[in-house]
Amino acid sequence: MDFNLSDEQRAFQDAARAFAQGEMAPYAAEWDEEKIFPRDAIAAAGAMGFCGMYSPQELGGMGMSRLDASIVLEELAAACSSTAAFISIHNMATWMACTWGTEAVHSEFCEQLVVGEKLASYCLTEANAGSDAASISTKAIRDGKGTGDDYILNGGKSFISGAGSTDVLVLMARTGANDSGASGITAFAIPADLPGISYGKNESKMGWNSQPTRTISFEDVRVSAHYRLGAEGEGFKIAMKGLDGGRINIATCSIGAAQTTLNHAQQYIQERKQFGKPLAAFQALQFKLADMVTELVAARQMVRLAAFKLDNNDADKSTYCAMAKRFATDIGFQVCNEALQLHGGYGYLKEYPIERFLRDTRVHQILEGTNEIMRVIVARRILEEGATDIIR
């Protein structure tokens, strides 16, 4: 067992850090304040190879392991966790289109998706289907009259990251009966501007302001069958496979953000004096910093373990991904919050980046499966006979 990064992993990390510190960090506060979706910076990230990291090389992706992708993403998140999170969602949706797409999908979208010339959204959540994602009601009905090969899409999605600014929608819709549950869901990758698709306003949010979040409505949208991913009824499984990696990504974004706030706090308490001494002279604050770094290192290792399990197609990969997502997004938010506390009133001001990272990481505990749902997944597995011997 070797816990050190390899030379190549360090090269990935260095490249990502140099890019993120040069092209993202200086602008992140403005993107947040002005709600700017940094298309140019994301395109530049695409040129660096960051937009199709674990997509297959045959389609122009980097073919990297999830572990390597996590190392890169952490550096991007350390600069702007909101933009990094969008890039992570794009990576997930792109991987899905590459993995289950037809040749038509590959040639129409994938070559541009993997390099960030086109961007993708992941569309699962609906107004009445959040945690209970298998209950979605957006319908895709085979068109008996037209060419017969098309689907007609009706319904709507909520909370879709990037929506309105992306080019491709990776979408889950119901092709089965209303009560068909998870097995009646089918996945598609469709052009984001098909006739009948319309977008809601950009939601006003606590964080993640460098990327839009919108509702999407589908009104008699005609979708060719060649846009289908996998077979009919496989959509929920595909969506969940996407999320296994997505959860590692989101967890990683919390780690990167937390690392940055920890760095700031470590400096700040040595510079700031109260009661005639640097804050760092108070043991209460030393212990706080010690706990922050201890928990952050543990969370990072947990994420890397889950990535390793996913890379090795471990039978319990989903359980590890859920544990990592729950743990790292909780710890990540907590570290940001403690760092803010260590900054006193200044941490609350936008002059310092701490409050932005705090706002941005809060949603990581909610999306791509809430942390309660992560516990549902872990509990279901750990209650099985013999599981305590395996999950460890």
Binding site: D7, A11, F12, A15, A47, M48, G49, M53
Partner: protein, 250 residues
């Protein structure tokens, strides 16, 4: 046209280096290492010459510990074609490095040798000049612009008085200053491609170079701590202090 670029492994410029407690040198344990920024500029310049169709091959060379292979790899990811790693555990002085580079020049016959003007660890600013003396080739140090025409080069140098333009015959030694260019980032595809490029390993002994140090490091100490400043009452007091205490104005 063949270009040889020298790169040095140094502590990353973001690192606050401390002296070892026994004052025998800087404490580099667990310190993040990187390619010397001026060397990176030299690599970038070579890559741009290749992109312009002027250079045909870029060879990158580093002299130092085995770990310097990482910096050679970085240069390969930035666009160099192949690498040479000259390994030694001796603490290298500029002259030893220049002699190793001279040996490589003898073997490779480059048309241009690009180096950083100095490395940010020792800040010596020697190696390029020494290599110039050892090879007898023209040298243009502190370059902020490099133009090649046929078998000569025009170089704009950053000198104390401003900018100086000189013309030199090739082969030549050129050392890069900060404003020569802004290096690109190594992309993931290029890092992966770099893995397949060859790095030949050799040693100073194999090159017939004696790298034994000529000087002895007596002591490495941190600079004196800055004393806290004071607040002056008014402009008059400030002027008085600048005149009579600091003696920077008269």
């Amino acid at each position: 046209m063949k270009i040889l670029v020298a790169v040095k492994r140094v502590a990353d410029y973001n690192v606050k280096v401390r002296a070892k407690s026994d004052n025998t040198g800087p404490d580099l344990a667990n310190v993040k290492m990187a390619i010397n920024p001026f060397c990176e500029i030299a690599v970038e310049e070579a890559v741009r010459l290749k992109e312009k169709g002027i250079a045909t091959e870029i060879i990158v060379v580093s002299i130092g510990a085995q770990a310097a292979q990482e910096q050679v790899r970085t240069a390969l990811a930035l666009g160099a074609d192949r690498g040479i790693l000259i390994t030694t555990d001796t603490d290298l002085e500029s002259l030893a490095v220049a002699k190793c580079l001279k040996a490589v020049c003898d073997n490779e016959s480059p048309d241009i040798v690009l180096l950083g003007k100095q490395a940010i660890d020792g800040d010596n600013n020697h190696t390029g000049q020494m290599l110039g003396a050892l090879t007898g080739w023209a040298q243009a140090t502190f370059a902020s612009e490099l133009t090649i025409d046929g078998d000569s080069a025009t170089v704009i140098r950053e000198v104390d008085a401003g900018l100086q333009t000189i013309q030199i015959k090739l082969p030549a030694i050129v050392t890069a200053d900060l404003r020569l260019n802004e290096p690109r980032y190594a992309s993931l595809p290029n890092i992966m491609k770099a893995k397949k490029k060859t790095i030949d390993s050799t040693t100073p002994a194999d090159l017939g170079v004696d790298v034994a140090p000529r000087t002895t490091l007596l002591k490495a100490e941190p600079p004196a701590e800055r004393k806290a400043g004071i607040k002056v009452e008014d402009v008059a007091q400030l002027v008085d202090k600048l005149k009579n205490e600091a003696k920077v104005i008269s």
